[in-house]
């Protein structure tokens, strides 16, 4: 794994997607998305509910497998040619899909593709709207489970790093607590630390503050801004416009499965080029 020798270089493109399409049945969600993200950038994806921004983020982590297109993330290249067994997969998916949407993605694919997906997931961290902490494990165990199981790290190694990560998110006093004992903001900070525990090159956030009270939002956003300063590449799907405007290096406006406009927040928020962007910003900023 090349994560150790990874040196942030703001000019390097670490996420590059071309012509990503995704449908659920007849419902065409993503209609050819192109996006490049450079190392260390914080990219906010904004748009109306149902515009496909969450689906797009999930595709980046292969929680959904895109139907066609090309993805190059953290050194892993996935393109649709790898996935030849779609028909066989869809039959399996109909039965077990009820249960684990996430498994479906893996079942869809051949072994080589599957391996790549798992490597990709190790290099890409994901933070969910509903935190998804493991309720049966303490904060510490939430952080060391994946490193010990997936990377076969010793518990000591994993613990030492976990403490550092918890310090980083200000949760080092809560190592022995269970998730149900934490407030939403605390839980989300632990979830960020958990994603960082695998030493990812890219962090994805799916509406990380939507489930939080306004006064708790700030503590999570602060963590993300700190990570930005350290040079972490981050892609955030968000409804929090002040965050998108104040903290991002780049904002992407998505509508109806297509990128309408992308650019520096100052430009996009002050002077949107596209009338659709303007319309969206008008409704959302008036609320």
């Amino acid at each position: 794994m090349d994560t150790k020798n990874f040196i942030p270089d703001k000019s390097e493109v670490v996420v590059s997607v071309k012509g990503i399409n995704k449908s659920f049945g007849d419902n065409h969600i993503l209609k050819g998305i192109d996006l490049d993200v450079k190392t260390g950038e914080l990219v906010s994806i904004i748009g109306r509910s149902g515009c496909g921004k969450t689906t797009f983020l999930r595709c980046l982590n292969c929680l959904e497998i895109f139907d066609s297109g090309l993805m190059r993330i953290a050194g892993i290249t996935l393109n649709k040619l790898h996935n030849k067994s779609t028909n066989k997969g869809s039959r399996l998916q109909s039965r077990s899909g009820r249960f684990f949407k996430g498994f479906k993605a893996v079942q869809n694919t051949d072994e080589d593709f599957q391996k790549k997906v798992r490597t990709l997931r190790v290099r890409v961290g994901m933070v969910f709207q509903s935190f998804n902490l493991f309720p049966h494990l303490t904060v510490m165990d939430n952080l060391i489970k994946a490193p010990t199981v997936v990377k076969k790290e010793t518990k000591e190694e994993a613990r030492t790093r976990a403490i550092k990560l918890l310090e980083k998110v200000g949760m080092d006093e809560f190592v022995d607590r269970y998730p149900h004992e934490l407030s939403g903001g605390q839980a989300q900070r632990v979830a960020i630390a958990r994603a960082l525990s695998m030493n990812p090159q890219v962090m994805l956030y799916d509406e990380p503050t939507s489930a939080l009270d306004p006064e708790l939002e700030q503590e999570v956003m602060q963590v993300m801004e700190n990570l930005n300063k350290e040079g972490m590449t981050q892609i955030v799907v968000t409804h929090a416009m002040h965050f998108a405007r104040g903290a991002s290096d780049k904002v992407v406006y998505l509508e109806d499965g297509k990128i309408i406009e992308a650019g520096h927040p100052d430009v996009l928020f002050k002077d949107p080029k596209d009338p659709r962007t303007r319309e969206f910003l008008k409704t959302i900023l008036h609320d």
Binding site: G102, V106, N132
Partner: protein, 505 residues
Amino acid sequence: MNKKYTVSILFLIAALFISMSLDLKSEKKVLRWAADNEGSAPFINQDYDDATKLIGFEKEIADALAEELGWESQFVYNSWDGLIPGLSRDDYDIAINGLEITEDRAAVVTFSDPYFLTYEQLVVPVSDTSTKCLNDVFGKKCGTLKGSVAERFLIATPGAIVKSYDNELTAFQEMQMGRLDAVLIDHPIALYFCSWNKKAKMVGLPIGEVSYGIVLRKTDTKLIADINRALAAIVKNGKLRIILERWNLWNYMLVSHFDDPNPSSVGHPAFKRFVESKGGGKSFGETVQRYIGYLPAFGQGAVVTVTLSILSMMLAIFAGLSLALMRVYGNRVISRAAIIFIETVRGTPLLIQIMIIYYALPMIGLQMPAFFAGVIGLGLNYAAYEAENYRAGLFSVPRGQIEAAMSLGMSKFQSLRHIILPQAIRLVIPPVTNDYISLLKDSSLVSLIAITELTKVFLSFAARDFDFLGPGLMVAVIYLLIGLPFVKLAKIIEKRFSIDHRKTV
């Protein structure tokens, strides 16, 4: 995982221990004879003073035969209905338990020479003064034993309305409650019942002729010769006559059959002891005394019930988890197989399943001791129900959990093992504990295959002492007491885990 290994090892050790204890045979040749001690006197039942001992004229005959052969006598319990089918299981070699020699039976087993001859006896309520013989039962309801010679006599009797019962006790009870007018039954049963029950009397002359024989497998030609030789010997040296006289069973048929007209002076001590045991126990103190006497046997039965149900539950928990995983994650074939098993087991009566495992599987060469059959029958039955519990548990772990696990790079198996299963198992612990309590109660069904657990102990006391009330209440209380700790446990666990899951994070 360590805990799981420990538990499975314990299971194996227990299984080994049990199968060993069942297989313990001494060097000396053994006469393994089977009977059902749930019958009433005088055949074979528990001693009035010490319920762990057996008494009865057939036990004495079996012992005398073994002694004559120079072998060791070993009693094997088997339910009466299963005595003949059970021969094929090779748990015992002969059965001696009031089995009338009939052509139907002779078609499937070999009978020894008769060891006892008797006749059918009509029994009516004391208040009935009009019924004097079998001809008087025209238009009356007559009870008897299912499949017995007496039943055939009744069917051939004009106007008799025949009611057949599984055991004589039920027939007599029906008569006492006025639902039957008369009972036609083998003379020894009538004699013993009327000896203490002042509400019933024997009327009429001896009817027909019945001979009891020892049954053996048709293939055991050597053994049948041995048995007949030993039987002839105890007839000749007078041992058989003394046994039968002690039990007040020596009759005119035996005199002519064995050609032994010489009276002896032993009297009927065994019969008298029976009558005394019935005559006593009337006062409150003596009744209590009798109930206290049940306790050691109930204790043994309780140990068997608890062991059986715990082992069955362990099997149910592991097999149930495997079935649930097969059903949810298996490929099409495996998943379908699990569904078929689960639905079949849940859709058929447990009693039938136990019967099939115990009696039918040996026919295709799959044989196991009764205790094992009980554990497997109960265990697999409950496994089907546990599988559905686990499945519900697996489904109720939020989808976000598996996504979080996989987003951290875990494989399908790793997320299942480290994230999903631990949560699912917590969710199903309360229902599983509750199921254990039902299993404990359902374990009473295995009393039907040769396992002497609580219910079996209760039934044999009830039959011996014609008393369902006392033993019935006692056994109910014992089941309650055994189940209570688990009810408590279920409540504690439910409370604890519901707090853990109060908030979904």
